[in-house]
Amino acid sequence: MLGYTLRRLVLLIPVFLAVSVIIFAIIHLIPGDPVDSLLKVGSGPEQRAEITARYGLDRPLYEQYLIWLGNLLTGDMGTAIVGKRPVIDLVGQALPHSLVLSGLALLFSTVFGIALGVIAALKRGKLADQAIMGGVLLGSTVPSFWLGLLLILAFSVQLGWFPVSGARTWSGLVLPVLTIGLGGIALVARVTRVAMIDASQRDFVMLLHAKGMPPMRIQLRHVLRHALIPVVTILALRIGWVLGGAVTVEVVFARPGLGTLLIKALNQHDYPVVQACLLLLAMAVMLGTLLGDILQAAMDPRVRAALQ
């Protein structure tokens, strides 16, 4: 397992480099110039040239990329051109907020997704199954931006249970977590349901039934345990996506985080900040994928055997 993990980690290096090239190229190829955000009325062409040179934006793109990558490898994410602060400080302040929000949303969607998936599998083909699957499908198709505003109107404006926005109290996390989490429930519930149905048709389940074990005990103790292998893999894969998905939700709920930072930096074309945020999100997806594969190998002896 250790050898497998190390091999996978080494393989991440070229993926990281490829992703860094793509991110750098996209950011610099889309129209926009951070110098426009720095120039104020009254400044002339000389100031534009001076500022462009000050931030190295007059250098060839490959040179700018190599400088950025070189600094990155030493842990230096650069300084925000418009924000004028070390990017690592800006990201360091934003990231914990995003991690808490994403982590809780992932937990919420996992707990409720698995529970609903199990119920749907146990009630397969019945009204409860159809209602659960229909409900989670609907939840996953509602845009998070819209869902967030609906939740605010219902729970903050009408009922007054939670604050409309902000990160001042823990209760401010409830609605953003629900907004992100509701979308994730659908996937977890569907995968759980299919895996449960698949596992319950295995020979060992028939054997347990033949031995006279109570059906509910078989389902919850043996079938669910078996069915969780693909669910855990899916959850690991979702880590990066949930972090990325928090972007719009953070804006709706006025929460500090990577999303808020990224949107502002994108509007100002603040390249170092945008690059750092995108790279972090991409790394979360890469590491999530790796974690999913490792967990699958750890949980499934067949995968382990194949690797050996």
Partner: protein, 526 residues
């Protein structure tokens, strides 16, 4: 029975706990304001190096001069000033007894050291006309100029020129403005979470309020939290539910909703924004001045004011905000809706009306592309203009660009006409948008006229004092208007929404926007 009781008790407990947690942390003499949209995301209160500021900077720092809503200048930390007749030097007499938040005295030496900080920063243009800075005695600051700069008072009143304590600035390095920000203003920086909120605590030693404030002493509000809410709907709902006390910027679209709330009132301040339509003078058909003139006259400013902006604000008939003296051009230069004259001009230019309602010349239809940005209000406005153009025989197609990317599209020079706005309260905006050395962006009109350039240079750097500068800018502005490189459309107002059960604002608002003068005179209802 027992289960029902337990459920009810549980539900009550959960609801009660949620209500306690959800209750905003508002206590007496504390107020929560929401920053206006363009001030969200400021990463530091370092006004010397940073290109963005918010109202927090206007409360932490005082400026040497302050500007009122009518654009006139008044004493701030400088009690008075004298400009040499040739404009080559200024002497500022500074207030005495002023201290920075860290206890350091504010005097001519501190002011000189603060001004010197701007060199080699992105904000260096603010002091670029200053050659030499001298502290003459304890409270006299002398500036020797490289060239006369009648705009100096404007720069000194800008929030980018809040007076920073030089020793703290040097000691804190890149943390200055983040962990600490030391000024002489009526509030001290207590905490700052980038992109989230700033907490300001009253400066109890404050006794040097500017001439724009009635209250010269400490503010009546003990603590202000400035919240950053990028989504306008969310900000509005916060005000509606009592989560915040004041929105420092309310979109005109929301005013109707605001009026329905019994405890909320809207306050209107003179605007600093102008909505206009630049024409690319190098692209057909707008390379013909008659077509530009006709297109400008085809815009029904009053209809736009009523239908798009609900009658809030005012029509724009020239390029500058109406509070500026340079906006007072001779009546013949004002541009107002006149479809009959527009038709006449197009006829004279050889564009004859076709059966399909579109004019044509030599078989080529008078059809243009109108660029606009993705914000919904700009889309609506552009559609109204499209209909108004159609009424005089100009066909137009709308192309929408993302607001953050449209500037780079302008740099291609491919635009024919665009609908946009600017936010600025100084006549040098005419130079910015029509200067021949900035073609593409910001000179979207690609206007590069020899006579205009001559007048521009005179307006920008050929004035020894404020009176001359105003006269030179009026002449430059008038000439630009006479060439129709743009059509003025609309001048918005600043809308502020606040909870009148919580806040009492002064009867008269001074300053160009909500700032120290207003906040010093604002009280929180106990």
């Amino acid at each position: 029975m027992s289960i029902s009781f337990r459920r009810a008790a549980l539900a009550t407990s959960v609801s009660f706990a949620a209500l306690i947690l959800a209750a905003p942390a508002v206590f007496a003499q504390e107020a929560i304001f929401v920053l206006q949209q363009d001030e969200v995301g400021v990463p530091t209160y370092n006004v010397v190096t940073n290109g963005n500021t918010n109202v927090g900077a206007r409360l932490i720092y005082d400026t040497l001069t302050v500007q009122d809503a009518d654009q006139s200048f008044h004493p701030g930390l400088a009690d008075s000033w004298v400009e040499a007749p040739d404009g080559m030097s200024w002497e500022f007499t500074l207030k005495t007894g002023v201290t920075f938040h860290n206890g350091e005295p504010f005097n001519a030496t501190a002011a000189a050291a603060w001004l010197a900080l701007y060199a080699a920063t992105d904000n260096s243009y603010m002091t670029q006309s200053i050659d030499k800075i001298e502290a003459v005695g304890e409270s006299t600051l002398k500036l020797t100029m490289k060239n006369p700069d009648p705009n100096l008072l404007y720069n000194l009143s800008s929030s980018f020129m809040g007076v920073v304590e030089p020793k703290a600035f040097a000691a804190l390095g890149e943390n200055y403005g983040v962990t600490e920000a030391v000024g002489t203003g009526p509030f001290k920086l207590e905490s700052f979470a980038i992109g989230s909120e700033t907490v300001l605590a009253r400066n109890d030693d404050y006794t040097w309020g500017s001439s724009l404030a009635v209250n010269k002493g400490p503010a009546k509000i003990a603590k202000i939290t400035l919240r950053e809410i990028a989504e306008e709907s969310t900000a509005f709902l916060e005000l509606k539910t009592g989560g915040v006390d004041m929105l420092l910027g309310v979109p005109t679209d929301f005013l109707g909703e605001l009026a329905k709330e019994p405890n909320i009132t809207a306050l209107t301040l003179p605007g600093q924004e102008v909505v206009y339509m630049p024409f690319n003078v190098t692209k057909a058909p707008f390379d013909d001045i008659n077509v530009r003139h006709a297109a400008a006259l085809a815009v029904n400013q009053q209809e736009i004011l009523d239908s798009v902006y609900g009658g809030v604000g005012s029509v724009a008939n020239q390029f500058l905000i109406s509070a500026l003296p340079e906006s007072k051009v001779a009546p013949e230069y004002l541009i107002s809706y006149d479809p009959a004259k527009a038709a006449e001009l197009l006829d004279a230019a050889g564009w004859t009306m076709g059966a399909d309602g579109v004019r044509a010349k030599d078989g080529v239809p008078l059809s243009i592309t109108l660029w606009t940005q993705s914000d919904s209000v700009f889309r609506r406005l552009t559609e109204v203009i499209q209909a108004e153009f159609k009424a005089v025989g100009i066909a137009s197609e709308i192309t929408t660009f993302d607001s953050s990317m449209i500037r780079d599209q302008y740099k291609t020079g491919e635009q024919q006409a665009a609908v946009r706005s600017y936010y600025w309260n100084n006549a040098d905006i005419v130079d910015w948008f029509f200067g021949g050395d900035r073609l593409g962006y910001p000179n979207i009109s690609m206007f590069n006229d020899p006579k205009a350039e001559e007048l521009r240079v005179k307006a920008m750097s050929g004035s020894a004092n404020g009176t001359e500068r105003t006269a030179n800018f009026v002449a430059y502005h008038e000439y630009v208007l006479s060439q129709f490189p743009m059509a003025p459309i609309y001048q918005p107002v600043q809308n502020i929404g606040y909870n009148k059960d919580r806040l009492v604002l002064p009867a008269e608002i001074h300053g160009t926007r909500i700032g120290a003068a207003t906040i010093l005179d604002t009280t929180v209802v106990e």
